[in-house]
């Protein structure tokens, strides 16, 4: 791999190949921005050009925001992802602490169930959970979007693994200092686990911001739509006619995560590839 004297030819080949691949990866993003910046007439011309002759990004954005309540959908996305994450942490952290640091009857069984739960793909439980929400009269609400995800077995597993690395002495010191078991979770373990919680938070927020399947199933009302659902509906009502505003809308929907990613890419990559931790 590492050559003592790098041959320039090799280095050049590396860049040529990687740039070619990068162009392929970026093509949709570039095409999206390009199309979102073109007026209708330029979009529907068979002549290919990347830079619009006449910039129409503002018009397209304005039209997108006029046709769909994009701000509302973005807000929905924030409400849903943040609620899910906060509840996941509130449920998972105490359980993870107990699994990692306390001895109690049934601990091994519970942990085995957690490990088993990780294997269950979300689509597998969709029908019964849907029926459950239907019976509870909760369909088509924020609750329907949030409740099924309040339990993250993966989060429990991850935090439990992290808590295992926290020295027992620290927990004992906290007990000697008079902190209750519940207090230890929030006052000692949570601050110690901030990096792991952050990584899990990114994982969780990205997954649920981008989720399409579940909102599609449980939502009916327009005002509750999450960003992916909003794009899909926009596309269904506008396809074939106004690609400019559609691309502008797509841009708006992916912008929050992509911008956040560009600012903290190391943390994001860490968070999203969490499932890669053995």
């Amino acid at each position: 791999m590492s050559n003592a004297h790098p041959i320039p030819f090799r280095a050049i080949l590396r860049h040529v190949l990687l740039i070619a691949g990068a162009a392929l990866m970026l093509a949709p993003f570039i095409w999206m921005i390009s199309t979102a910046s073109k007026p209708q007439t330029e979009i529907f011309s068979s002549e290919l050009h990347l830079i619009p002759h006449q910039f129409a990004l503002a018009e397209n954005l304005r039209e997108a925001f006029a046709k769909a309540n994009l701000l509302r959908f973005l807000l929905n996305g924030v409400i849903v992802t943040v609620s899910i994450f906060v509840l996941q942490v509130m449920v998972a952290l105490p359980a993870a602490y107990a699994l990692a640091k306390l001895r109690f009857l049934g601990r091994e069984t519970l942990f085995a169930l957690v490990l088993f739960g990780i294997l269950i793909p979300p689509q597998a439980t969709a029908i019964p959970v849907f029926l459950l929400l239907h019976k509870a009269g909760l369909l088509d609400s924020y609750a329907a979007l949030v409740l099924p995800f309040t339990i993250s077995v993966f989060g429990i597993f991850l935090m439990r693994q992290f808590f295992k690395t926290v020295p027992d002495d620290l927990v004992d010191a906290a007990r000697m200092d008079g902190i209750s078991e519940f207090g230890i979770v929030w006052r000692v373990m949570l601050p110690a686990a901030i990096p792991a919680v952050t990584a899990f938070g990114i994982f969780s927020v990205v997954a649920h911001w981008n989720d399409y399947f579940w909102p599609l199933i449980v939502l009916n009302s327009e005002h509750l739509r999450t960003p992916p659902l909003a794009v899909a509906h926009f596309r269904n009502s506008e396809a074939g006619t106004s690609y400019g505003p559609l691309m502008a809308a797509a841009m708006v929907i992916i912008a929050p995560l992509v911008i956040a990613f560009l600012f903290a890419q190391r943390r994001f990559i860490e968070g999203i590839t969490l499932t890669g931790i053995k």
Binding site: P167, L170, D172, A173, A174, R175, M176, D177, G178, A192
Partner: protein, 383 residues
């Protein structure tokens, strides 16, 4: 006044007996070391005293009051851990303040944002600040108060951990191998500091260590534990000179005590390597083990001889490793005067005074001996 009494403490983990009935009493103001090899149960015993681990049976009393149903923090003991166990996200100041805040502030006052607004909390915080500052002064860590544990050296962390223990003015201090994470030089320094702290506070110290040198140098009394039992307790000098069990003799002292196979004759005399020792005992005839400390072996004269197989010259003293002729036993002799170190592979005569000898039965129990008076007077003539 904190006197701690343990009676018949038993503990087992998953069917393995870790503590097999410990009875022990720590007097007020004592510096007592619990010493023993790893796995002997000393740390478990300390954790039971602290209340971090429930015992299976037996009782812990502090000042005559049973504390078995009392939570760790309510026992009013302080503990210093091997890894220091400082809260990594809190500054030195906040680390030391934790026990005070937990004790003095109500649940509402401890709430993150709301609590800070309460006037009652502000008054209490003033007192806490004063107390922490006082402790920091004593331990010479005032400049470190705003730093996080990650920015402190091992010795500094150690001091902060001691500060966190001191600030609550506990009935007793429990130390769980607190020096084992430090390098050798710092360890010696901290040994002196802890002994000094004990003299100053006059509090009860219970100190767990596997390092017999720490136990010997700091404590007023040592309790030696082996295999879940407390086998001997006494002052460092008693433990060193008067071991009641061969395991104690072997554990305390470095280099280890020399153990030679011996035989008790019918008349009570004792033979070692074919030579009769000038002492007798009243034990039954049979095999026994004869222990002699390295510094009690006299090189140059005596009834035994061996060849030098290894030399360790430390400058101020030297250790001579001998292999006895014939039996092939290994012994270590300490030589105070390094100018007279014998040559490697040379043959050396050696002996030891009868009062240097400690005799143990095959089970390891100590056998009392009588010295033969007349012989003892003649002994110095050899040298």
């Amino acid at each position: 006044m904190a006197q701690i009494e343990l009676s018949a403490i038993r503990k087992s983990f998953d069917g393995t007996d870790v503590l097999k009935g410990i009875d022990f009493r720590v007097e007020d103001g004592e510096f007592i070391s619990l010493v023993g090899p790893s796995g002997c149960g000393k740390s478990t015993l300390l954790r039971i005293i602290a209340g971090l681990e429930p015992q299976n049976s037996g009782q812990v009393q502090i000042d005559g009051r049973p504390v078995d149903s009392i939570r760790p923090s309510a026992r009013n003991l302080a503990m210093v851990f091997q890894s220091y166990a400082l809260y990594p996200h809190l500054s030195t100041f906040d680390n030391i303040a934790v026990p005070l805040r937990m004790r003095r502030l109500s649940t509402i006052e401890r709430l993150p944002l709301l609590g800070a607004l309460l006037p009652s909390r502000r008054a209490k915080e003033r007192h806490i600040r004063a107390d922490v500052a006082g402790i920091a002064e004593q331990l010479d860590i005032t400049p470190l108060l705003r730093r996080k544990p990650g920015q402190l050296s091992g010795g500094q962390r150690q001091r902060v951990a001691v500060g966190r223990a001191m600030v609550r003015e506990p009935l007793a201090f429990l130390f769980d191998e607190p020096l084992s994470n430090l390098d050798a030089k710092l360890r010696v320094h901290m040994r002196a500091e802890l002994a000094e702290l004990h003299r100053r506070l006059k509090a009860t110290f219970i100190y767990v260590t596997h390092d017999q040198a720490e136990a010997m140098t700091m404590s007023s009394r040592i309790a030696v534990m082996m295999g879940g039992e407390l086998i001997q307790a006494g002052t460092p000098a008693e433990i060193y000179n008067d071991p009641g069990d061969i395991r104690v003799a072997e554990f305390i002292g470095s280099p280890k005590i020399n153990v030679l196979p011996g035989r008790i004759r019918k008349d009570g005399g004792v033979d070692v390597l074919g030579t009769a020792l000038k002492l007798s005992c009243s034990a039954a005839a049979g095999d026994c083990r004869v222990g002699v400390r390295p510094e009690r072996i006299d090189l140059g004269a005596g009834p035994f001889s061996g060849s030098v197989v290894h030399l360790e010259n430390l400058g101020a003293e030297a250790f001579v490793h001998l292999a006895t002729e014939g039996a092939g036993l290994r012994l270590i002799a300490r030589l105070a005067d390094v100018r007279h170190v014998p040559a490697m592979a040379s043959s050396v005569a050696f002996g030891f005074a009868p009062d240097a000898v400690r005799i143990f039965d095959p089970a390891g129990k100590r056998i009392e001996i009588r010295l033969e008076q007349a012989e003892r007077i003649r002994e110095p003539a050899h040298v």
